[in-house]
Structures are given as structure tokens and as C-alpha cells.
């Protein structure tokens, strides 16, 4: 019998994890900060993450960074909502303290998904609006509109251009659907003497007790109000000189523009919560499509869309909808009759995944989407899939068996799973040593004698999900590490190819002879080309793997959060 880890021990570990940031999270945050903001911000950011709330001078001393660099770093972090400040704990007059948010930094990982989603919903314009905002943290509406219009125009054929009004309309739609929101206004209550960098939209320090949380964006009435701006004009094409600078990643300061548009001081940010709700809904919809069929998923999509506004983000199920209402709201091209809709709804309610529940009989039957239960069941399927892929289908059989029957003795596991004793024992041992299953000892007598003790195997879904979440963080960090390593290995070659591309571009612009171009092109040898090719392949693969792991992160995290809310 293996008595390695009792569940009590396990629980304890899981709880410790919950309150403090784990080593895996810290490592990943560091890598993300370095990639997006450079090494100084990484140093200051990771220091703050580890130390908890600290004032400016302490951060500078302890992280060994000059004060002005610390200030700049904090500015950057605050602009992106990754850092907040509040009045010192030592009473009035004590220095303002800063705190970094691990949760927020980890969202950097999801940037490609936010951008991609904006593109699917609102086209290229939506994509660029969200991309600009993510890159800069916060901006005024007028500067977003101008920047995006410029970028769109630049990518168009000569002679075509994008009107500001087009971008304004997309921007307004994004606000209307709550994907963008105003940054909460900065409170004036911060001690004026403080040397704190004050960034609008970074969450105000409250004048109240230091412990109070900063107000959320949504607690301000104008959160989703688009200001009236006087913006007439169209995007401008950049000249090629600016272009090169932009391409090389030299982030230019937004041109200071003498014109005023009437929205000065009103800054906007991406509403991550809203995107997450959208991701959650998409996850549920595609699970329904996979388990049942397209029509069922379309019905669930309709239900989710209808209750978007009426259901609070943390609700465990959507507002109840009558079959009549659902029928009226189905997309016009879905021509199913009313009785058939009823059949679909009944089948959805019958399905053991419990995506949809019936809450009453009025209006032809009242239905809800079981958000919390759907997440719980999808997280369970995720855990099962991990065991299946890693340890094979028969270990997965044992794992599912334990998830369904909760407490089983080894003999029962063998009998239910129909796996020979020796194999079952090996599999259980492996799962046990990987912390995927746990062993509970139930002594029949007070002396805890092993011969008079029940040994019951069990799976704790929540604890396992938390553990796998940590595995995901470590995995993403490994992928990033590998990506950095691959790039470093080919650094010289990459630089060479970039140089040559630049020469080619300028030659082309000056109308050089074709022979001249091929000559330059051939400066890269065939084996070098091949190496570049395989490097590109590797980077792409690592990139898309990072995004895929983030999907696992999203689902597990959504489940953990939803469970926390459900048990509150």
C-alpha cells in the first residue's frame, strides 16, 4: 500500500497555493514582462510580485535599480493595469505603496486571443483597435481612431484611405458591447507630496483605509459612454523612413497633436472580463457542437446571446428563458419548427453534461444555460484528457471511474475497470505519484493498524485542476524559454537576413536593376535559407503551442474561479 500523500496533506498544499503566487507563476510573469517591456521592467515587476506592496524607495533599494528607472517601470506597469498604488499603510503622510498584479500580467499571454477575437467580431478595424490598446495600455478615443485609421490606410492600395468616422463606428460598437471601457478616473486623494508617477487609468488610490480595494471600472456611471469627439478626416500614409523605424520595434511616442478633440483625459482600456465571458460562451458552444450537434449549439448560442445583458458575469446560470422567446430569437436562417426546438431542448436537458437546465414550465418551458456546471464538466473532461494522453486509455478509465464513484478500494477499481490486479496496481501507483489520484486511509480501529484500515482511492477534481494549472504555467514558460533559445542560437543569421531585407527594400524603392537585386538576394546561401526556414517553423510551432496551452489555462481558471464563487 502506498501511503505517501494523504489528502489532508494535499489540501494543505492546495490552499497555500491559492493565496500566494507560485514559483511557476512568478517565472512566467518574469518572462512575459521581459518580452513585452524589457529587462528593467521585468526586474522591478518580479521584485514587486515577490515582495508584495512596497513604496518607491524600498523597491529601488531592494531591486538594485536606479530610482528614475523604477519610476519609469512603474509607469509602464500602471499604464497596463499591472500595478496599482494606494496610500501607505503607516497612516497619513506615509509613502504610497505599489503592488503588482500577477493575474493581470499573466493575461499578456492571452493578447493574441483578444486580438483575434476582435478581428472575428469587428474585422480588421476591431483588430487594430484592440491591438493598439493592448500595446499601449490605455489611450484616448481620438488617438486610437487616428492611429488605427493611419495604419489601415497605410496597408491599403495607393489612392484609397480610411475615414475616421469608420473607425469611430467600430470603436463605438466595441464599447457598446462592453469589450472596451473607460479607465476609472484617478482620485485626487493621493498625497500631493508623493513622488508617485500618476497615471490616469491605473486605478486610483482611495482616501479611505489602505485595505480597501480600488474601485472597478464598472462602478463609474460613464464606463460605457462614448464621448462626443470632433474628428473629421482620414488616415495618413506613413513615409518609408517612419515605416522602417516602426518595423524595428522602436515604439514611437504618439505624436503630440496640437488639435483638441474634446475627449482629453478620457482614457480607454480593454475590458478583459468581457472578453473572458465571450471565451467562456464560445467554449460552451463548441463543446455542445462537439457532443451533440450544430443545431443544438446554435440554440445554446442563441440562449447565451439573449442573456448576455441580463445575466451578471458571476452568475452560475443564465436568466431563465422561455422556449417561446428562444424560438423567436433563433437566427433567421435556422428554420426549425417549434416542436423540433422543444425536442432539442429536451435532449439538451437530458444530456449528462448538463449544459442546459429546465427551470420551469411557463411559456412552453423555461430554460437556463448552466454556466457553472458546464465549466465544471468541461474542466473534468480536460483533466480526463490529460490523463488519457499522458498515461493511456486504461489509466484514463481508472481515473474516470474514480471521478464518478469517488471512493474505491483497489479491488473495486480492478473489478469495475476490468483491469488485471497487477496492472491496475501499477497504474494507480503512477497516478498517485503524479498527484492525480489520492489515497484516503480510514482506520477501522483507533490504533490505525494497516491491516484494519480501508485504503480508498479518490480524485479531488478542484485540487487536480489547480495543480494542472501550475503545470500549464510551467509549460508555457518552458516554451518561451525554448523560443528565446532558438532565436539566440540563430541571432547572427537573423541579423544578417534583416540587413539584407533592408537593403533590398531600399534598392527596390530606388528602382534598381533586377540583376542587382538577385545579387543581393544571393548573399544568403541555400543552407542559410534552410536554417531560417526551419527557425521560422520552430518559432511558429512554439507560438501556437503557447496559445493552445493558454486555452487550457483559461478553462481551468474559469472553473476554479466559478467554483470559488459558487461556494462563497
Amino acid at each position: 500500500m502506498h501511503r505517501g500523500r494523504s489528502s489532508a496533506h494535499w489540501k494543505q498544499r492546495a490552499e497555500v497555493r491559492q493565496v500566494t503566487m507560485t514559483a511557476q507563476e512568478a517565472r512566467l510573469c518574469g518572462l512575459l514582462l521581459r518580452e513585452h517591456f524589457g529587462e528593467v521592467v521585468e526586474r522591478v515587476g518580479t521584485h514587486l510580485l515577490r515582495s508584495g506592496a512596497q513604496n518607491l524607495r524600498t523597491v529601488a533599494n531592494e531591486s538594485g535599480t536606479p530610482l528614475d528607472l523604477v519610476k519609469k517601470s512603474l509607469c509602464v506597469l500602471m499604464k497596463h493595469g499591472a500595478c496599482s498604488f494606494r496610500a501607505g499603510r503607516k497612516g497619513p503622510g506615509s509613502p504610497v505603496e505599489y503592488r503588482a498584479s500577477c493575474e493581470r500580467i499573466l493575461l499578456i499571454l492571452r493578447y493574441p486571443r483578444y486580438i483575434y477575437t476582435a478581428k472575428t467580431l469587428y474585422g480588421d478595424t476591431g483588430e487594430l483597435v484592440v491591438e493598439e490598446l493592448l500595446q499601449r495600455g490605455h489611450m484616448t478615443m481620438s488617438s486610437i481612431v487616428k492611429t488605427v485609421a493611419d495604419r489601415l490606410t497605410h496597408n491599403m492600395e495607393e489612392g484609397r484611405r480610411v475615414e475616421y468616422s469608420e473607425v469611430v463606428s467600430t470603436f463605438s460598437k466595441l464599447v457598446e458591447t462592453h469589450f472596451l471601457q473607460r479607465c476609472p478616473p484617478v482620485s485626487e486623494a493621493v498625497p500631493a507630496a508623493s513622488t508617485a508617477p500618476m497615471i490616469p487609468g491605473s486605478g486610483p488610490a482611495s482616501s479611505g483605509p489602505a485595505a480597501s480595494a480600488p474601485p472597478t471600472a464598472e462602478s463609474f456611471p460613464d464606463c460605457y459612454t462614448v464621448p462626443h469627439v470632433s474628428l473629421v478626416g482620414w488616415g495618413k500614409r506613413r513615409r518609408s523612413g517612419e515605416d522602417a523605424a516602426e518595423e524595428q520595434g522602436v515604439s514611437k511616442k504618439a505624436k503630440t497633436d496640437e488639435q483638441t478633440h474634446g475627449d482629453e483625459g478620457v482614457y480607454w482600456q480593454v475590458n478583459f472580463e468581457r472578453f473572458h465571458l465571450h471565451f467562456r460562451d464560445q467554449t460552451i458552444i463548441s463543446a455542445v457542437a462537439s457532443k451533440l450537434d450544430q443545431t443544438s449549439s446554435e440554440i445554446v448560442r442563441t440562449m447565451l446571446r439573449m442573456s448576455e445583458v441580463t445575466t451578471p458575469p458571476s452568475a452560475s446560470c443564465t436568466q431563465a428563458l422561455s422556449a417561446n422567446e428562444i424560438f423567436r430569437s433563433l437566427p433567421a436562417n435556422y428554420s426549425i419548427s417549434r416542436p423540433i426546438l422543444d425536442q432539442y431542448l429536451t435532449l439538451l436537458v437530458d444530456d449528462p453534461m448538463e449544459f442546459v437546465g429546465k427551470s420551469g414550465d411557463s411559456g412552453g418551458g423555461m430554460y437556463v444555460v448552466n454556466l457553472h456546471r458546464a465549466l465544471t464538466n468541461l474542466a473534468r473532461a480536460t483533466l480526463e484528457s490529460v490523463v488519457q494522453e499522458r498515461f493511456g486509455s486504461r489509466s484514463a478509465r481508472i481515473f474516470r471511474l474514480l471521478l464518478r464513484k469517488h471512493h474505491l478500494e483497489q479491488k473495486q477499481v480492478e473489478d469495475f475497470a476490468m483491469i488485471p490486479a497487477k496492472e491496475a496496481k501499477d497504474m494507480l501507483y503512477t497516478l498517485l505519484s503524479e498527484n492525480l489520484v489520492h489515497l484516503q486511509e480510514i482506520p477501522k480501529t483507533p490504533d490505525h493498524a494497516p491491516s484494519r484500515t480501508f485504503y480508498l482511492y479518490t480524485v479531488n477534481q478542484l485540487a487536480t485542476a489547480r495543480m494542472l494549472l501550475q503545470h500549464c504555467y510551467k509549460t508555457v514558460a518552458n516554451l518561451i524559454d525554448r523560443r528565446l533559445f532558438e532565436t539566440k542560437e540563430s541571432k547572427r543569421l537573423l541579423e544578417k537576413s534583416q540587413r539584407i531585407e533592408a537593403i533590398m527594400a531600399s534598392l527596390q524603392a530606388s528602382g534598381a536593376e533586377p540583376e542587382q537585386l538577385t545579387e543581393v538576394e544571393e548573399m544568403i546561401t541555400a543552407p542559410e535559407k534552410q536554417q531560417l526556414e526551419s527557425l521560422r517553423h520552430h518559432i511558429n510551432k512554439l507560438d501556437s503551442a503557447e496559445n493552445q496551452v493558454d486555452e487550457t489555462v483559461f478553462l481551468l481558471k474559469a472553473y476554479v474561479n466559478s467554483t470559488a464563487k459558487a461556494t462563497q
Binding site: A287, S290, K291, D293, T295, I340, Q343, Y344, T346, L347, P352, M353, N377, L378, A381, T382, E384, S385, V386, Q388, E389, R390, S393, A396, R397, I398, R400, L401, R404, F416, A417, M418, I419, P420, A421, E423, L468, H471, C472, K474, T475, N478, L479, D481, R482, F485, E486, S534, H537, H538, K541, L542, A545, N547, Q548, V549, D550, E551, T552, L555
Partner: protein, 318 residues
């Protein structure tokens, strides 16, 4: 139940009971149309009523006698005269051992217990057993309960599950492959049923309902496939179907059924259907780290590290 209690020592009463039994059987053979209780009483006047009843019950439960009813009351009649003829030419000791083995039914009995019951020396018992085996009157069966333990039972008796371990054992070994083959076949059956239902383009409810198969249907399909050497019961198939539920490939619903419906047990019927997976393998396991056996030992700058990882290299070059 007197037999059970006296298993350990050879009780003269036990031997007496066995003798009484063969006497009654002889009597029945003399009167192939059946005998009444009175006939037995007349033939064996010294036999107490209680003991007589016990012996008769035993014979009935072993299936040696039939109980009939006619105008004159209850009649006992020999069920099958075959074994008696087989025993021709056997001496009394052989008959006694045969009787003991017969009593053991489909659970069998091991040599030591036979010896205690018949009170013969071990060498003698072994000789008789060999003899009976060669005449194909009895057989030795290995028990899964304890290895190397052989039990004897009549030649044409199907051994009990507790002896063979059921359909899943052959010669004490759990037939893991057999189980997996059945698991796959059952799934195939349910899957094709679900496919046919989907392709029928009927209303969703009809589609779902026609994707269901009762355990009886699955059982019939497997029997007709003829992949099993042993006879499988419907329960055996339900055990296999349960493994498919734990594989996440099949779902089960229990419905109420009219008494007497084919495949229903206690007014209930189990319905099974093959289902689609709800998600594709999750992102984590699409990376080498998600499947890595040295995940915990891997650190940047360590002996095992992402930069030097061969799993990564292999995966990247794939």
C-alpha cells in the same frame, strides 16, 4: 445443510445420509413411474421422518428427482437414469466418491475434503479420482481463488463463477485481451447504431432514441459474432459496457420496462448509446511538456532544461 457442518471430519451420520440417498435412488429406479413418500417409509422403516425429508430435499435440489403431483398425492420420480448406468461396474467406494463429488455441485470439492467425507486413505482416493476422470465421469478444475488448488466436479457440470472467475478467466488468468476485444466490439456496435440513427435524418428525438441499444441487443450481437469461446451472460456484457462508460465513450440510461419485455430485469431496462467526445485533447497535452516523464526535474539551466530538451527538439522537427 448438515453436509456443510461436518465437512471437516468424517461423520458417520454423513456417510449414512449418502447411503440413504443412493437407496432412495435405487428405489426410484425400480419404479420409473415414481414413488410416494409411503413407499420410502415402507422400504426404510427405521429412517426418521425429518431425515427422510432432508435427504429428499437434497435430491430434489440436486436435480436428481422430480416432484410430481397426481391423484394419490405427491410422487418422486427419477429425473435422469444416465449416471446410474455409467456407474455400472464401479465398486461401492467409487460410487461413494462419485456421490460426494456430485453433492459438491458446480462449486467443486478438493481432494482433502473428499477424503474426510469418505474416510478412505489418500492413495485410495487418488486412485478412484483417476479412475473416474479417465471414465469422463468427473473433471478437475483449477480454481482462481487459490492457485494450484484443484477442485473436482461432475464431468458435465459448468463450473461456478467463484471457481473459474467467470467468463474473464481462463486457467486462472484474467483474460485482459479478451476483455478489450469485447470492449471494442461493443463500442463498434453502439457506434454504428448511432451513425445509422444520425444518417436517418429523422427528428432529433427519434434519432437519439434509435441510437440506444438495450444490453440484451448488445449481448445478442456479441453472441452472434461468435468471438467468445465461453458463454457470456447478459450481465457479463453489462460489465463490459460499464468499462465503456468509464472510457467516456458510452452513456447509459435506465428506463422502466413492462414485465416480460426482452432484456428487462426487475421491470427495468438498461439502454446504452455511443457518444461523441465533448472536447478534443486539451492544449496542454499537445506540447511535449504536457506528456513529459521528467517534467518535475526540468529547470532552465539545469541538467534537464527546455533549451536542451530532446523531446522539444523531436517535436519541433516533426
Amino acid at each position: 445443510m448438515a453436509d456443510v457442518k461436518v465437512k471437516k471430519e468424517s461423520d458417520p451420520a454423513d456417510v449414512a445420509a449418502i447411503e440413504t440417498r443412493s437407496k432412495i435412488k435405487e428405489l426410484c429406479q425400480q419404479f420409473p413411474h415414481g414413488i410416494t413418500d409411503q413407499v420410502i417409509q415402507n422400504d426404510m422403516p427405521h429412517l426418521e421422518a425429518q431425515q427422510r425429508a432432508m435427504v429428499l430435499n437434497k435430491l430434489l435440489s440436486l436435480g436428481h428427482l422430480d416432484l410430481l403431483k397426481n391423484s394419490s398425492g405427491l410422487l418422486y420420480r427419477m429425473k435422469d437414469a444416465q449416471s446410474a448406468s455409467k456407474m455400472k461396474g464401479s465398486d461401492n467406494q467409487e460410487k461413494l466418491v462419485y456421490q460426494i463429488i456430485e453433492d459438491a455441485g458446480n462449486k467443486g470439492i478438493w481432494t482433502r475434503d473428499i477424503r474426510f467425507k469418505c474416510n478412505l486413505p489418500l492413495t485410495e482416493v487418488n486412485k478412484i479420482l483417476k479412475n473416474l476422470e479417465s471414465k469422463k465421469l468427473i473433471k478437475a478444475v483449477k480454481s482462481v481463488a487459490a492457485s494450484k488448488k484443484k477442485v473436482y466436479m461432475l464431468y458435465n457440470v459448468q463450473p461456478d463463477r467463484s471457481v473459474t472467475g467467470g467468463a474473464w478467466y481462463s486457467d486462472q488468468d484474467f483474460e485482459s485481451e479478451f476483455v478489450e476485444v469485447l470492449n471494442q466490439q461493443c463500442f463498434k456496435f453502439l457506434q454504428s447504431k448511432a451513425e445509422v440513427a444520425r444518417d436517418s435524418k429523422q427528428s432529433p428525438m427519434i434519432q437519439r432514441n434509435s441510437s440506444f441499444a438495450t444490453s440484451h441487443e448488445v449481448w445478442k450481437y456479441i453472441c452472434e459474432l461468435g468471438i467468445s469461446k465461453v458463454d457470456l451472460s447478459m450481465e457479463d456484457i453489462e460489465t463490459i459496457l460499464s468499462t465503456l462508460i468509464y472510457d467516456g465513450k458510452v452513456e447509459m440510461t435506465i428506463i422502466a420496462a413492462k414485465e416480460g419485455t426482452v432484456g428487462s430485469v426487475d421491470g427495468q431496462m438498461k439502454l446504452y448509446r455511443g457518444v461523441n467526445p465533448v472536447i478534443q485533447p486539451t492544449g496542454l497535452v499537445k506540447t511535449p511538456c504536457g506528456l513529459c516523464p521528467v517534467f518535475d526535474e526540468c529547470h532552465e539551466g539545469g541538467e534537464i532544461s527546455p533549451s536542451r530538451c530532446i523531446y522539444m527538439t523531436e517535436w519541433l522537427n516533426f
